[in-house]
Subunit: 110 residues, 2 copies
DNA sequence: TAAACATATGATAATATATTCATATGAATG
DNA sequence: CATTCATATGAATATATTATCATATGTTTA
């Protein structure tokens, strides 16, 4: 993470958002809006992990995890690299942490 | 908005999130993950509006809007007050702006 | 190169969700 | 107090989504 977010920056960011951008935003948030996916993302806060590790951490079967990994990757929230037989996944950027942190604050204060 | 979000604060916020909290977070993000709802939220960035105004802005029928307003209110993202026959809605807190701003940044950079 | 291992994928079934339509509630007004 | 206006709500339908099962793909190793 490399940036600060203050009132001024926030206000600038939310000015003049087009209808298309709002739809894109909805699509992005939909990705976070599933507990399996958000658990995967949070699992990757520790650093990169392969599919088997994620399955163990979440106690879910491999197919379900792979399906969700694909959705996360298509959304560019995670990236992957191959290491022998294994595929290793990691967070694609720091926005994931920021977005989840904001959400957490809202949930805590509600 | 009254706070700054820097790396340190973000890291603190995302430490030790329980499974239940992650599920709550998923539920919260699910609310943002629908284009009608996010358009309503963005519409309210201008300030408070009644149901009819929101219907006009979004060019959608009243029942659909009311159903979504109820979901947004249950999630504590908006609040309402009565003014005569009209119900007037507004954003419940500033996290909404911050969350949407973060999402927008991600979408723009993708 | 056949077998074993790790992951991905397609089809299916179960569940959740959004919008519409019809109608109910609640407030203002003639 | 009957009517109109504004909003809410319930039921139904249409669509989307998730997990599971079976199987395919790709990589290593005996």
């Amino acid at each position: 993470m490399s940036e600060n977010y203050d009132d001024k920056k926030i206000d600038h960011l939310v000015r003049n958002v087009s209808e298309d951008e709002l739809s894109d935003l909805a699509e992005l948030f939909k990705i976070f809006g599933d507990s399996t996916r958000i658990k995967i993302l949070y699992d990757l806060f520790d650093g990169e992990k392969n599919v088997s590790e994620i399955c163990e951490d979440l106690e879910m079967n491999q197919s379900a995890i792979s399906h969700q990994l694909k959705i996360l990757k298509t959304s560019k929230l995670i990236k992957s690299r191959r290491d022998g037989k294994a595929m290793i996944y990691s967070l694609a950027d720091d926005h994931v942490k920021v977005i989840i942190a904001m959400g957490k604050e809202h949930v805590e204060e509600g």
